[in-house]
């Protein structure tokens, strides 16, 4: 492929952000597209904010410059807003709509903004797609497939330089056999959610 594609994935530790980024990377290698994926390990994983980047094509490193994301894929609404610096008017911002409340809010020290406020802000910065991935994952048969729903949404958003089947095949290669149908469903729900 020619040119660069920059994808920023965000969420909270434990939501499968790193796994999702890794899957996109593996799919790229499968079709011979140059790829770099940056990950977060260690201290940052204990319930903290997680941010990964995937860069495809004519790139020499994993970090996405400001204002250069083609897509932001967020597993949590406030986390999409946290990394808004990566976006430009054309950026596709795809976010799950279910918040995860940090303990700083539970202890009463800080506040979680109103969801509608978050969405209206996100709309200012790019093209917003809201996905009820928690519900869709449950419908597919398991909450853990939430990140697969989100990957389906990304595949449906026409951002990747390869067909959605490549991504799906890569996902299925990486899950136990008995969960193949659930993951297929979850991925399909994601595609449909973005192209209703």
């Amino acid at each position: 492929m020619k040119g660069k594609i920059n994808i920023v994935l965000t969420g909270v530790g434990g939501q499968g952000v790193v796994t999702a980024a890794n899957i996109i990377g593996k799919a790229a290698v499968r079709v011979g597209v140059n790829v770099f994926v940056s990950e977060v390990h260690g201290m940052a994983q204990r319930g903290g904010s997680v941010n990964c980047t995937v860069r495809l094509g004519d790139v020499s490193g994993p970090l996405v410059p400001n204002g250069s994301a083609d897509a932001v894929l967020s597993m949590e609404p406030s986390e999409a807003l946290r990394y808004i610096g990566y976006t430009n008017k054309k950026t596709k911002i795809i976010t799950d709509i279910v918040p995860v409340i940090p303990f700083t809010v539970a202890t009463g020290d800080e506040k979680y903004p109103e969801l509608e406020k978050i969405f209206s802000e996100l709309e200012k910065y790019g093209k917003l797609y809201k996905i009820d991935a928690v519900k869709l994952a449950k419908d597919a048969g398991a909450l853990v497939t939430k990140n697969v729903v989100m990957l389906g949404a990304l595949a449906g958003a026409d951002v990747l330089p390869f067909k959605s089947d490549v991504l799906l095949e890569t996902i299925l290669e990486n899950v136990p056999k008995k969960y193949i149908d659930i993951n297929k469903k979850a991925f399909g729900y994601g595609i449909k959610a973005i192209n209703p």
């Binding site: 890794n22 390990h41 201290m43 400001n66 406030s78 807003l81 539970a106």
Partner: protein, 624 residues
């Protein structure tokens, strides 16, 4: 297993750390050692996973691997193997090399016979570290040849070829990485796996015994070795010049991950420039550097952290007597702080070349977002230990702490981490605080930290009769870095049975006269134990034993046991906030109507919130 596929030419996606392991396997590594530490841990974890894979099938993995007790011992184990002619790799985080530095500095004098690659994983921006020291100084300090990869594939190649360089020079070499290499995935081109040598041969020689006369004889040899290394550096495939556009008299010198940002920004800004990429950055290829300097009137040096290349280039230019303008840290264009990225490099280049920065951040939103710092997991036994210690003595206590998950006890509402320097510092600083203040001292360290460097300060506390309570949080694993085994576990890094060493037995052997062994999930008894320890005049130890909840629950699921979930009886709850405001489990939160709720998805079922609730309002809901 993908990582051990012997399919030369095939491409696969690997983490930078996995790529280093693969490079070592392609070089036929015999012995690999480590003490885990972010961002280096996955190098060793990959060796461990491969070894376990073979151990399970009763097969020999072809190499020996161990999670050593600390970095110093790790370097000594692997060093002795390399001295005996085997190929060895030792990996550690940057501050680990401080621990191993005593060994390292003299090891450089005597060298080795088999190749030895020492990986130091630096952490600019302190993502998971207590400082951002630049370990390239160790290459200069100890006189070690050094390689600095920019991408995962290069990391694999440099590891593989690093063994050859090391063997040629009969000297250990450093492979210096940074977090943005260790934790980046990229496409790797596999090469053939070499067969290990397996049995070393220690040739007795008085020159291996570094008495003063031997040291005086070896130091000139070290300098000779560096001269030979310079020749290798001059001809190394890792040192190269790249032209972008139509270069004239502007040049950039860079190494490591900074190269990636330099290349991208230079292309995006359409600069006409020559880039000198230094992959073997110690010793510098002096002739190559001289020629580069002579070909330029202006040179930009781009390197994270310390001005190591910058200062060396200025010396070379001075000795050449040529006039060249340098742009870097001392000119104020680049910072000595934190890791770089394309934006930082673009900002500096746009100032130097007086052009517009091509990367513009979207305006930051005015909506204030809650911070999301890492926290002790729901159900973490450390929280119960902290809670009990505070109950035993609520005021006038100083809490020296240590490196591990429990450092997170610093956060509200516990706020039980007052002083931290490095691995093992809790008990040493506890002694000093007992001398210097009239406060009670309760220090905290994990079990792996205890074995790593926590034992000597315990002995110190006993011998000098310091009035301290030293707490050892024994969760039977090295949790923060990814659950590696340590001398307190009954298996080793190769998945084989190992002799388990009890923390309390060691303390007893160290002469500790007051030892309390508790299960922190019994908060009442743990509180009483802390009270007794505080009343003891002298050094007392509390060993708080409960497995990491993540491992405990994983084992429960394996055994087919259910994990309990707790809920709050809203009629009994008086909103006293003991559970949220004092205990601080992140699974508890206030609902929109102000009622206290438990997030079932997060609850790990420890039940400690039910124990501490003064109104008996929390009980088991169901099995998860």
């Amino acid at each position: 297993m993908q990582i051990i596929k012997d399919k030369p030419g095939e491409k696969t996606l690997l983490l930078g750390n996995e790529a280093i392991t693969r490079g070592a396997l392609e070089a036929g590594v015999d012995v690999a050692t480590t003490y885990p530490g972010t961002p280096s841990s996955e190098i060793a974890d990959t060796f461990s996973a491969i070894a376990k894979y073979f151990t399970k099938q009763n097969k020999d993995p072809g190499f020996y691997f161990e999670y050593s007790i600390n970095e110093k011992v790790a370097l000594e184990v692997a060093g002795a193997a390399a001295i005996s002619g085997l190929r060895a790799l030792t990996c550690m985080k940057h501050v680990g090399l401080n621990v191993a530095s005593d060994t390292f500095m003299t090891y450089m004098y005597i060298g080795c016979r088999g190749g030895h690659v020492i990986v130091t994983a630096d952490d600019p921006s302190c993502h998971s570290s207590q400082n951002e020291q630049d370990n390239r100084y160790y290459a200069l300090f100890g006189g070690a040849p050094m390689l600095e990869p920019s991408t995962p594939n290069e990391a694999k190649e440099m590891t593989r070829i690093g063994f050859e360089i090391s063997e040629k020079l009969q000297s250990p070499i450093l492979l210096r990485t940074t977090t943005r290499l260790n934790h980046v995935r990229g496409s790797i081109q596999l090469k053939k796996m070499q067969k290990p040598r397996r049995i070393g041969n220690f040739e007795k020689n008085p020159m291996w015994v570094t008495t003063p006369d031997v040291a005086r004889a070896r130091h000139p040899e070290l300098l000779k070795m560096l001269k030979a290394a310079e020749e290798i550096s001059e001809n190394s495939e890792f040192n190269k010049i790249l032209n972008i556009g139509k270069p004239f008299d502007w040049g950039i010198v860079t190494s490591g991950v900074s190269f990636n940002y330099v290349k991208e920004v230079a292309e995006d800004l359409k600069l006409d420039i020559r880039i000198l990429k230094l992959g073997m950055s110690n010793p510098l290829p002096k002739k190559m550097c001289e020629n580069f300097i002579k070909s330029c009137k202006n040179i930009i040096i781009v390197e994270e952290l310390e001005p190591i290349l910058e200062n060396q280039f200025k010396v070379i230019a001075y000795e050449l007597g040529v006039k060249v303008k340098f742009y870097g840290k001392s000119s104020g264009h680049f910072s000595r702080l934190f890791e770089y990225n394309p934006d930082i490099v673009a900002e500096a280049f746009s100032k130097i070349f007086k052009v517009k920065n091509p990367y513009i951040a979207a305006k930051t939103s005015d909506v204030k977002l809650p911070s999301r710092p890492p926290a002790l997991c729901p159900g973490c036994p450390h929280r119960a230990t902290y809670y009990a210690a505070k109950k035993a003595q609520p005021k006038d206590v100083i809490y020296p702490t240590d490196i591990g998950c429990y450092t997170l006890g610093r956060a509200k509402p516990l706020e039980m981490a007052d002083l931290l320097l490095c691995m093992g510092s809790n008990a040493g600083t506890a002694c000093g605080l007992a001398v210097a203040t009239d406060k009670k001292i309760i220090s905290f360290m994990g079990d792996s930290t205890f074995f790593h460097s926590g034992i000597p300060p315990v002995v110190n506390a006993v011998h000098h009769n310091h009035d301290v309570v030293i707490t050892i949080l024994d969760n039977r694993t090295t949790a923060m870095t990814g659950h590696q085994p340590h001398p307190g576990t009954d298996f080793d890094g190769m998945g084989r049975p190992a002799k388990k060493i009890n923390v309390e037995d060691v303390c007893k052997g160290c002469g500790v006269e007051h030892i309390e062994v508790v299960d922190p999930n019994n908060i009442k008894e743990t509180t009483e134990a802390f009270k007794r320890a505080l009343n003891f005049k002298g050094a007392a130890v509390v060993v708080s034993k409960s497995p990491c909840i993540l491992l405990e629950n994983r084992d429960k699921i394996k055994r087919g046991e259910k994990i309990l979930v707790y809920q709050i009886d809203q009629e009994k709850c008086r909103k006293c906030k003991t559970c949220i405001g004092r205990f601080g489990c992140p699974a508890l939160y206030f609902g929109e109507d102000g009622s206290v709720l438990i997030d079932e998805a997060q609850c790990n079922g420890c039940g400690n919130c039910a124990t501490i609730c003064p109104f008996g309002a929390i009980h088991v809901k169901e099995e998860k």
